[in-house]
């Protein structure tokens, strides 16, 4: 449990310098998914790693101030909606699910261009969904618990192993 935050100037300064570059790299991985290795999933995980770095270096409160768990779940749903919406749009236009060539008359571009744009849109959706799902998992696993324990929750007796941790 990361309940205690230690102010570490070196780690915080390096995180402040390096986090924008991590996020730009994640956007590059998402946008170049159909030319080079990468794609929505990998880019989303890198974005979530930047948020996890904020979480680790500055503590949970600083991370939650930027993106709280509720917003993360909503963003996850929006990402899935973008993905499924583009697929269903192709379905409505008369093709198969995710058959981007049917989007060409709607977007007013050539068929290869429409395929490229469709893949880009789907990957943006996947990246959003993966980033926010990973971030909410990180908050659930490593964060302070915000949910009260159930009434029949049995408090285990404290053992010596519970005292292992950062010394005050």
């Amino acid at each position: 449990m990361l309940t205690q935050i230690y102010k570490n100037l070196i780690v915080q300064t390096v995180c402040r310098i390096i986090i924008p570059f991590i996020q730009i790299y994640a956007l590059y991985v998402i946008a170049h998914g159909h030319y080079s290795p990468g794609g929505g999933f990998q880019g989303g995980v890198i974005l979530a790693a930047a948020l996890a770095l904020i979480f680790l270096a500055y503590g949970q409160d600083a991370a939650v101030r930027r993106l709280n768990r509720h917003q993360a779940v909503i963003l996850c749903a929006i990402g899935v909606f973008i993905y499924a919406g583009i697929g269903l749009l192709c379905l409505l236009a008369g093709g198969n699910f995710l058959d981007y060539s049917r989007l060409a008359p709607i977007l007013g571009v050539t068929i290869p261009r429409a395929r490229s744009l469709g893949i880009l849109g789907v990957e943006i959706g996947v990246g959003l969904a993966v980033m926010s799902a990973m971030y909410s998992i990180i908050i659930d696993v490593a964060g302070k618990s915000t949910i009260a324990a159930p009434r029949d929750f049995v408090q285990l007796p404290k053992t010596k192993r519970d005292n292992v941790g950062p010394a005050a």
């Binding site: 390096i18 292992v164 010394a167």
Partner: protein, 111 residues
């Protein structure tokens, strides 16, 4: 053998990459043979960073100046920032957790 004539930058690249491999080897030996966390981190934290930087600079020399070598240069800059910071954070966390540094047996007896 005498008709092998590599260009000068390729010879430099080979020397750099071999140096990088040497430092990878020594840091791995240190990781396997040193007695506790701090000494192991001392071996890998410095050796790995230097080895990666040497190998990347060798690859840049081999590749010449273009977009790929610019990307490699960026990678080496970020590794040289992030790797020592990670080592610092791990060492600090271990010290906070109360892990005792390794001492020679006779030293601890004197104490």
């Amino acid at each position: 053998m005498s008709n092998i004539n590599l260009p000068f930058h390729d010879i430099c690249a080979i020397i750099l990459i071999l140096g990088g491999l040497f430092f990878f080897f020594t840091s791995t030996v240190g990781l396997l043979r040193f007695p506790d966390l701090y000494t192991r981190m001392h071996a890998t934290g410095k050796g790995d960073t230097l080895a990666v930087l040497l190998i990347i600079s060798g690859a840049i020399l081999h590749h010449g100046l273009n977009l790929d070598s610019a990307k490699l240069l960026l990678i080496s800059v970020f590794i040289s920032i992030a790797n020592p910071t990670g080592t610092h954070a791990i060492g600090r966390a271990a010290y906070r957790c109360g892990i005792k540094p390794w001492l020679k047996k006779d030293v601890s007896k004197v104490k």
